[in-house]
């Protein structure tokens, strides 16, 4: 069985999505258990895959038994095995954590919801493991479509925001498709390894250059890097809690992964990092994006909206880290994919609990929350410290690598941007913590502050606290992650 893990990772959630659809028509109560089981199985097999990768270099799986470049193959190496584990783990945790709120939000649409949920996970994990450029596009569209639907069911202006997301996402995906088309035009192949083998002869060609530019633009749109970020805040801020915990941590990170894959393994570093000026330009864009996002975050008065801007800033971290074009920087970028997914999951789960209990996430409605829901707020604080970058939480260590990479590359602008956003995060989060911690619950009726707000249900709290502990554990084990996995995920050429 174990040699089929790569296929199972995709097939299990796909099948169980169909099962959930059927169950949705006949017995809604089955939807959650099926999804739970399937995601657990997927997590198991992805961990097994990681183990295989750690033991022997690359796992290749030929779908339909056809050899590359004629058939579609899955190439699982150090880089994507760890991202794969991340994706499945986040999906599973969020599934468990948000069970109750999902039942509350979509009482009569449980079947479709979990179907879309599973299809979304299928798409993402497929994107991560596939070794075929066009297959990646198809899976990308699956995850996008399901994502649009999930986001579109949110409150207030969610449909409009989701429609804009559709437009931006489609433009991004189309650009990516076009870029792949250009590559196919000059190489005649769609298999990433094959393309990478053919390209070096063609580095001079205009087509390759344009293909690179188009692909990158498409991915930047998809990952909401600074100039293209406008769709993200609206789309995530109003989305239902069961969804945002899945989409916010994963979508942008997986897109960053795709960027890494394309720059490092399709276009080799020799091409991607050929001109120092271009690298500097990208780093400046990233730094500028970080600063702008932090400033915009300062102006927000609602918890979830402000978190979305933090998310945009984090994307800047990773893009900048990659274009530092040295080992430390790229290590930081990969490490930050992992850590940021964990942090974002934690902070959004906490925000979800707060939102569910106090019906509002405007800052002034967070008064006295520490008394009401100590555990959720404790987890919130841990996640906040991690986003600020305080040791020993994991956020500090990726920031460590990013900054030292920037110093090594002499990109002091990026250093300044990182420090600036950390300081802004301190201000932002402690503004919230101060309100939640010190402001009295309500001034007019002192006796027995209303009992409506108490700690969220057990399941939500437990998984949230587990994630919060995980942040610190990740931080402690940084060295193992780096030395055992990430350093092999970076091509040898980069020093």
């Amino acid at each position: 069985m174990s040699q089929h893990f790569p296929a199972l990772i995709i097939v299990i959630p796909l099948f169980s999505a169909l099962m959930v659809t059927v169950a949705g028509w006949f017995n809604k109560r089955l939807c959650f258990p099926i999804s739970l089981l399937s995601l657990a199985a997927v997590l198991y097999s992805s961990i097994g895959l990681l183990m295989q990768v750690l033991s022997r270099q690359v796992v290749q799986y030929r779908l339909g038994g056809w050899p590359p470049p004629f058939g579609i193959v899955y190439e699982v190496d150090y880089l994507n095995s760890v991202v794969l584990v991340l994706v499945t783990a986040v999906a599973l945790i969020n599934l468990i954590a948000t069970r109750i709120s999902v039942v509350e939000d979509f009482p009569d649409k449980l079947g479709p919801f979990y179907t879309l949920y599973l299809l979304f996970v299928t798409g993402l994990s497929g994107i991560v493991v596939t070794g075929d450029a066009f297959n990646l596009y198809v899976l990308l569209e699956i995850s996008s479509l399901t994502g649009y639907a999930l986001i579109g069911m949110g409150k207030e202006h969610a449909p409009l925001a989701s429609l804009h997301y559709v437009f931006m996402g489609t433009i991004g995906a189309s650009f990516y498709l076009l870029g792949i088309g250009y590559l196919y035009l000059v190489t005649g192949s769609l298999n990433m390894v094959d393309i990478a083998g053919i390209l070096p002869k063609l580095y001079g060609s205009k087509v390759v250059l344009i293909a690179f530019i188009i692909c990158m633009t498409g991915l930047f749109i998809k990952m909401a890097l600074f100039p293209f970020h406008s769709w993200l805040p609206n789309a995530y801020a109003d989305s239902p809690p069961g969804v945002v915990g899945l989409i916010a941590p994963l979508t942008t990170k997986v897109m960053v992964y795709v960027m890494l894959r394309i720059t490092l393994y399709v276009f080799k570093p020799e091409f991607s990092f050929a001109s120092a000026d271009i690298n500097t330009a990208f780093v400046w864009i990233a730094a500028f994006g970080i600063v702008v996002a932090s400033v915009l975050a300062l102006s927000e008065r609602r918890l979830k909206r402000f978190l979305t801007y933090v998310l945009i800033a984090e994307v800047g971290y990773m893009v900048g880290g990659l274009w530092l074009a040295n080992r430390a920087g790229i290590t930081g970028a990969i490490l930050h994919i992992i850590n940021d997914a964990a942090m974002t999951l934690c902070i959004f789960l906490a925000a979800g609990n707060i939102l569910r209990q106090s019906r509002s996430d405007a800052f002034e409605d967070l008064k006295g929350l520490f008394r009401k829901m100590p555990f959720s707020m404790a987890a919130f604080v841990v996640a906040a410290l991690s986003i600020i970058g305080v040791p020993p939480t994991c956020g500090f260590f990726s920031k460590w690598y990013l900054i030292s990479g920037a110093i090594e590359a002499g990109q002091y602008v990026f250093v300044a941007a990182l420090l600036f956003s950390s300081l802004v995060n301190v201000v932002l989060f402690f503004r919230i913590i101060e309100i939640g911690f010190f402001e009295p619950l309500d001034d007019h009726h002192h006796q027995a502050p209303e009992i409506t707000r108490r700690e969220a249900p057990m399941g939500m709290v437990i998984s949230l606290v587990a994630v919060a502990v995980g942040l610190i554990v990740l931080g402690i084990f940084t060295r193992d992650i780096v030395t055992k996995i990430i350093q092999f995920a970076i091509p040898e050429g980069i020093t």
């Binding site: 970058g389 020993p392 110093i407 250093v415 300081l423 010190f438 780096v482």
Partner: protein, 493 residues
């Protein structure tokens, strides 16, 4: 002189952290305070139990985890660290006694939170004292910053919250904005962060870079309140007095000064700084702070404010001791950590006791209060003598060594600075005592039937006052530790 591996340092750090769950879950105040007390005693004994080994010149080390390649969370107890740990853990015992009296005397709200974060900040302090490398030091330094924030903003009113905000802005701004890049730059250049006898930086950085890094470190450790990064300290005086006493006379500010000494000796190295003639720059920064703070202290009416400004000045004594880069000067600086701690905590205790007993905050309202509370004011007198640096008090010894240091480096300007600031100290402390004893009593300010503060408050301050007198006659453990440290730094093992 191979270090022995022992888990004691970790235990010493965890002793006060481990007590937090008990504090949270036991509802009875007595039980809660018993736990705090027990933790304090245990911690102190663990620290003391390490003393014999250290005094033989054998350091103790313990590695918790290697979190990054080449960078580990490591404890390394040497003479200097032990000195600081002894002071802080001993004073925690006394302070926990005192804060029981104080908090009950004023029946403050949310005492559980107060004791929890108190314990946390203590473990952070000891962690700083025992840290073996810059990274571990930074870790506990940050932990201390965030653990003390709820204590500073304890009163939760607008003033407390704004000063808490200011506290965070200065401390965290300094550590993230200046320390973190400095640390990463050093790591990038040298490839290590372990403290070494003569620093790790020599030969790895250009003079200009060294100078900038030095400034980043001096100001980055904003807890040391070197001007212009001092403004948080007076603001933080809104906190309950025990907090001010322990954290702003002992733990927090001393952690800042301690870190500066550590970094100057362990990262930069005295030889390197000497060779680059950076001592003058440091001396000027320190002496400016000393004089300016003393002058500012002169026209403060709030007692705690005046104490705060005097603290700022005294801290820069320690920095100055390091800045002289001479053996005697360093001994003076290290001793001053201990001596000033005893003196200043006495003064804060007295201020708190007066406040508990009479509710008076301002000096101008304390006329004749000595007739009502003789013990308190007597202790206040001793404490101020110690801070001024007059025999028979511990402060005299540290100042003595500082003066020797200035002579050793033929830096007469600094000598002048020291003496004049001592005069200024006298000028802003003795009037208080004078008013207290000989000023006409005006009960209008503090009610008629005022007597001493409750026993819980009096005993500790008597103890600390006695302590600072005792330290004059037998400064032994501290003096020996300081001398061993300096010998190790300058002569090598």
């Amino acid at each position: 002189m191979v270090p022995v591996v022992s888990i004691k340092p970790l235990l010493a750090v965890l002793a006060s952290m481990a007590v937090v769950p008990f504090l949270i879950y036991c509802r009875k105040p007595n039980l809660r305070e018993a736990w705090t007390f027990a933790a304090a005693i245990i911690k102190f004994f663990i620290v003391v139990s390490m003393a014999p080994t250290i005094l033989q010149g054998i350091p103790i080390e313990y590695q918790v985890a290697e979190v990054l390649p080449g960078v580990a969370i490591r404890f390394y107890v040497d003479t200097f660290g032990l000195l600081f740990a002894l002071v802080s853990s001993f004073l925690w015992i006394i302070t926990s006694v005192y804060s029981i009296g104080y908090m009950r005397g004023l029946n403050e709200h949310s005492q559980t939170r107060y004791f929890c974060y108190f314990a946390l900040s203590l473990s952070a302090t000891v962690g700083v004292a025992f840290s073996a490398n810059f990274f571990t030091l930074y870790l506990f330094y940050e932990m201390l910053s965030f653990a003390t924030y709820p204590l500073v903003a304890h009163h939760q009113d607008v003033e407390a919250r704004s000063s808490g905000r200011r506290y965070l802005t200065y401390i965290v701004g300094g550590s993230i904005g200046l320390l973190l890049p400095a640390m990463l730059y050093i790591y990038d250049k040298t490839g290590t962060l372990e403290f070494a006898r003569q620093g790790i930086l020599s030969g790895h950085a250009t003079p200009g870079a060294v100078k900038i890094l030095l400034l980043m470190c001096i100001f980055g450790f904003a807890k040391a309140a070197v001007m212009p990064f001092h403004a948080w300290l007076p603001a933080a005086m809104v906190a309950p007095t025990p907090v001010s006493a322990l954290l702003h006379a002992v733990a927090v500010v001393k952690v800042g000064a301690f870190s500066i000494l550590r970094v100057i000796t362990g990262v930069f190295g005295t030889d390197l700084l000497n060779s680059l003639h950076l001592d003058t720059m440091l001396c000027l920064i320190a002496s400016f702070t000393i004089i300016a703070a003393s002058l500012l202290a002169l026209n403060q009416d709030g007692l705690k404010l005046r104490l705060a400004y005097s603290t700022i000045g005294q801290l820069s004594y320690i920095v100055l001791g390091a800045a002289l880069l001479t053996p005697q000067g360093l001994i003076g600086g290290m001793l001053h950590i201990a001596m000033h701690a005893f003196g200043k905590i006495t003064l804060f205790f007295c201020a708190g006791a007066i406040f508990v007993a009479t509710g008076v905050r301002n000096i101008s309202e304390m006329d004749g209060i000595g007739k009502r509370m003789p013990v308190t004011l007597a202790c206040f007198f001793i404490g101020s003598l110690s801070v001024i640096g007059l025999p028979p008090c511990g402060g005299f010894i540290s100042k003595w060594y500082l003066v020797l240091g200035t002579l050793e480096s033929e830096n007469l300007l600094m000598l002048f600075v020291l003496l004049s600031s001592s005069l200024l100290n006298a000028a802003y402390f003795l009037p208080i005592v004078y008013r207290g004893y000989f000023g006409p009593p005006n009960p209008s300010k503090y009610g008629d039937c005022v007597k001493e503060a409750p026993l819980w408050c009096i005993v500790p301050l008597v103890l600390t006052a006695a302590g600072s007198v005792v330290l004059f006659f037998l400064p032994q453990p501290f003096l020996k530790l300081a001398q061993m440290t300096v010998k190790h730094i300058f002569m090598g093992p």
